[in-house]
Every structure is written in structure tokens, then in C-alpha cells.
Amino acid sequence: MGNRQEILLTGAGGQGLILASIILAHAAVNDNKNVVQTQSYGPEARGGASMAGVIIDIDTIEYPKVVNPTVLLCMNQASFNKYLPKIKRVGECIVIVDSTFVSGPFREEYKVQNYPITKVAKEKVGKEVVANMLALGVVNAAAGLVDPDIFRESIFEMAPKGSGEINQKAFDMGYFLYEQGSGQDIDQSAQNPQ
């Protein structure tokens, strides 16, 4: 299991988590890793809860579903409540939440890292819809899943025409947020990392 990363991206429908999972998987392919992406389909994926899983490994990936998450991203309170208890190795799994929507409780043993992801996307990057790429920046900074340069290129490749740069900017902002540290409220003086 050493190299195997099991990433769960969770939140509400419309937060772009499925797309984020596809971009993450795409980036992992470009980084020459094996990858499998799955997602929950169905009526519940429209507006309600949204969940996507990505498994990244050096070895061949057989069982495609996430069973033992090593990274958990929660972009809303409901998903935080639902998926936090699914963590098997408490304390070893990297848990990242969007404090714009998730207020806790952040029990100590889970080592939850919270960042104002959507708020920063809206106020610093200028577009709420790029919160998903910002979240990927935080996740990748925290977990080191994919080479960051390859990740940035992959985002550009996959972004709709004309939106490559703003999506990359959001991703970079994610790195910046991570470096600032968990639990910070939005820093009004936060500079553009570029």
C-alpha cells in the first residue's frame, strides 16, 4: 500500500468536484502514474451530495473504489459529517476542509486542516467557480500527489478555452493558502502569490 494514494473529493453538487477529480487524474497520468477515477452518479449527484474518488499508484490499480482514504477533501458541512467517519487510519489521512462552508467540529485526532477555499476563490482570485482548482492546489500542496508543474499544465489542458490562466491562478493560490497554514481566517492583505 506504500505508494497508493486514495483521494476522496466531497461536497455539494455544483462545486465542480467531479471535474476536479478528472483533472487530478489527468494530471497523474501526465505525471506517468497509474490512476483510476470513479464518482457517485445518479440523482443524488445533481445539486445534492457529490463525491469523487481518485486512486493514484505506481503499481497497477485493481480494485477501483476508495476504501481507505489517504486524502479527504470536504467542501461542505454535509460531506464533512458524512465522510470523516469513513477514515480508517485516523490521524494519517490528510483532511482538508473549506472553512467557508465547514465549521467543524475539528476533533484533534483527525488533524483537520481548514482553509477558506471558496472565500479566497471569490475574493482573491475573483471567481467562485474556480474554488475547485484552488482546493486542488491545497490538496496537492499538502499531499504531494503530482508534480506541481505537470499539474499546472494539466489544468491548462483541461480548462475550458480562455479559462486556463484563471484556473492556474486558483491552483497557485491553493499552494499559497497551504503555506500560510491551517486555521487562518482570510488575510485581507494576502498577496497574489505571483
Partner: protein, 376 residues
């Protein structure tokens, strides 16, 4: 074969890409979860390469249109899921009887009836075998990965042409919807086995002597195509001798080309005590277990994965039964292929079912638990 750089691709998309690589230029379909991505990909791609995409008024019409286009000389494919597969059955029988090549994709979902449209299942194994009425031959492939979906779609299109036999691809929701890294061969033309376009002077559409290529309509060969029992020229007959010969004919070709049609893969110990026999997405769980048990721990276990479900890989299972004490058959249904396994094992080994039908995949733990019990 030259290869491109690896890409991330969904199973359903790989099916569409495989079809296009193998020369499919006609798609008719009707929207249904979880197969719709096949249609959507075809709708984007076919017009760009001079192909025809048409969304028909229903599943029955989609199947009919595909057969019509095949008779016009195009390579064709349609995709559907559970309820739609039920609706297509009559015309699938027609294509078998009239020996019209085409590929039918069924991305299995949880049934019966509307069931759980987005939950995976392997519940259509027997329907794929016996879904249409009458004593008919079928070829059914079931891939276990995105790349295998691509590869088996290509194989299905080519074999379907060669044997003038509709071929069913049984995907499941897991394989259809998951994305994974694949490397697609670069030169897609290599994937097309082109049939000879020379028509012998004494060509007959259903020659008593054996398989002849389909000559499309519109080239001056005035033959008849019907779902009725027919003679060498396609004309209806009720003559008992000819009826029997007709039925033998469509079965014989599958027997003759059996080794091209029946595809399986074995990994594991040479003298296994416990062998898992499975197919589709369940192969992945089983492989995770067998790799660990055999590669890491040298336990006497093996996995026979079935890419071809029908005609059933009888010899391959018999081989296994000679060696193994126990054959475990995990399936995401209440037990379908296990009956065939038992018929071939003929009591030479213990055959143990592992069934799951709650709309979730069988996990590696479920398989290793049951395997462990028989190893200790």
C-alpha cells in the same frame, strides 16, 4: 503497433473509441443510463469522420436501424443498458438469423426492471445468452478495464464482420463509468481487418458450403434478407431439412472459429488448489487478492478471468477443474455463470458461489475471506 502517449479515458468512451478504430461509422441509439456516454462520444466524433449518428425514437428502432445500416455495408454499433437491452432482443434475434454483423453494448445496471439505474450489476449474463427467443448462438464479451473495453470492442467489430454474427459487449456500470490510464494504439487503421471486396461469381448470401461475406445492398446482387428460415439465397423455407441445415449453419460457424472467439486469461499458481473464476469488474477485486496471495505469499491460488462469457469457455474451466480442489465464482448477481462452471467442473472440484446484489462491487476482502477459508 505504434502507441500514443497514455491518456485518461472512461470505459464508455473507450468503447466508442474502439468502435471508431475498428471502422464503425454508424451508430443508432437511445439515451439510457449508464451507457449514454457511448452515444455522446459517437455523436461528437462520427460526423467529423463522415459517419452517421442517429438518435432513434426508441431502443427497438435503434437496433433495427443498426441492422439496416449493416446491410448497407457500414460497420455498426449500438449501446444500451438493462431495460433497453430487453427491448432490443427481438431484433438481435433477427440479426443472428439473417447473419447481419453488428455490435450491441449493454452497460449492465441493477435490475430487474428500472432497478437502480446507476448501480453496478452483472445481472444480464443469462439474458445476453438467452434474451432473444429460439435456439440461437451468441458471442458475448465482458471487459474488466478501460483498455480491455477498447480492445474487446475492436475485436467484437472485426469478429462480427468475419462471422456475420452480432456480438454483445457486456460492460458493467463500474467499467463503463470509471476513468483510468490507457494507451491507445496510434494507427487506428491497423485495427480494421478488411474483408475482401471481390464477390465470387457464384456468391450466395447463405451458401450451404459455409460462411460467405455479406455483400451490401445496392451492388446488383438481388438477394432476400428475412428472419424466416431461409435457403441459400435467403428465401423463406419451411422444408424440415433446410430448416435444420439453417440452424446448424449459424451454430457451426461459432464452433469452427471457437478459438478466436473464446478469450480467457489465467494468472497464478501452476498447480492451484483454489481458483477464482470471474468476469467484468469483479476480475479487479479477484486479481488484487490473487496477486497478493500468489505473488507475495506463493499460495496455491489462481484466477481465471473470462473475457468471453458466451460461448462459455468450457475447455478452460475443465482444465482448471482437473487441478483445483475448489473453484470460487464471485458474481454481482444471484448466481448466473456459476451454473455453467458447475456443468464443466462436473463434480471434479467444489464450486463455491460468492454473490453480491446490493448495488456495490464485490470487495477484495470478501474474496480473500472465502479463499482463506478453503486454503487453511
Amino acid at each position: 503497433m505504434p502507441e500514443t502517449k497514455p491518456v485518461l479515458m472512461q470505459g464508455n468512451e473507450a468503447c466508442a473509441e474502439g468502435a471508431i478504430s475498428a471502422g464503425v461509422r454508424f451508430y443508432a441509439g437511445y439515451p439510457i443510463t449508464p451507457s449514454t456516454e457511448v452515444a455522446e462520444r459517437m455523436a461528437v466524433k462520427l460526423p467529423d469522420i463522415g459517419g452517421v449518428f442517429i438518435q432513434m425514437e426508441d431502443e427497438i428502432a435503434s437496433m433495427a436501424a443498426v441492422i439496416g445500416a449493416s446491410i448497407g455495408g457500414m460497420r455498426t454499433l449500438t449501446a444500451t443498458s438493462g431495460p433497453g437491452f430487453s427491448l432490443k432482443q427481438e431484433n438481435i434475434g433477427y440479426a443472428i438469423m439473417a447473419e447481419i454483423p453488428c455490435v450491441i453494448v449493454n452497460v449492465q445496471r441493477m435490475g430487474p426492471s428500472t432497478g437502480v439505474p446507476t448501480a453496478p450489476s452483472q445481472g444480464d449474463v443469462m439474458q445476453a445468452r438467452w434474451g432473444t427467443h429460439g435456439d440461437h448462438p451468441v458471442i458475448v464479451f465482458s471487459p474488466a478495464s478501460v483498455y480491455e473495453t477498447y480492445y474487446l470492442t475492436v475485436a467484437a467489430v472485426n469478429l462480427s464482420q468475419k462471422l456475420r454474427q452480432p456480438i454483445i459487449l457486456l460492460l458493467d456500470e463500474v467499467i463503463g463509468h470509471m476513468r483510468e490510464k490507457v494507451t491507445i494504439p496510434k494507427d487506428s487503421k491497423l485495427m480494421v481487418e478488411k474483408a475482401s471486396d471481390k464477390v465470387p461469381a457464384d456468391w450466395k448470401p447463405y451458401d450451404d458450403k459455409g460462411l460467405t461475406p455479406l455483400v451490401p445492398f445496392g451492388f446488383g446482387h438481388y438477394y432476400h434478407v428475412t428472419g424466416l428460415f431461409h435457403d441459400q439465397y435467403g428465401f423463406p423455407t419451411g422444408d424440415p431439412q433446410q430448416v435444420e441445415r439453417s440452424l446448424d449453419r449459424i451454430h457451426e460457424k461459432l464452433k469452427k472459429y471457437r478459438d478466436e472467439v473464446v478469450l480467457t486469461n489465467y494468472i497464478g499458481h501452476k498447480e492451484p488448489r483454489v481458483v477464482i473464476v470471474t468476469y467484468g469488474c469483479t476480475v479487479r477485486s479477484a486479481r488484487a487478492v490473487v496477486k497478493k496471495a500468489y505473488w507475495n505469499n506463493r499460495q496455491p491460488v489462481g484466477l481465471l478471468s473470462l473475457q468471453t462469457l458466451w460461448p462459455f469457455p468450457d475447455k478452460e474451466v475443465q482444465e482448471i477443474a482437473k487441478k483445483a480442489d475448489v473453484v470460487i465464482v464471485p458474481e454481482m448477481n444471484m448466481g448466473q455463470i456459476i451454473g455453467e462452471v458447475e456443468r464443466q467442473v462436473k463434480g471434479e472440484a467444489e464450486v463455491i458461489p460468492l454473490n453480491r446484489y446490493d448495488g456495490e462491487m464485490i470487495s477484495p476482502e470478501q474474496i480473500s475471506d472465502i479463499m482463506g477459508r478453503w486454503l487453511s
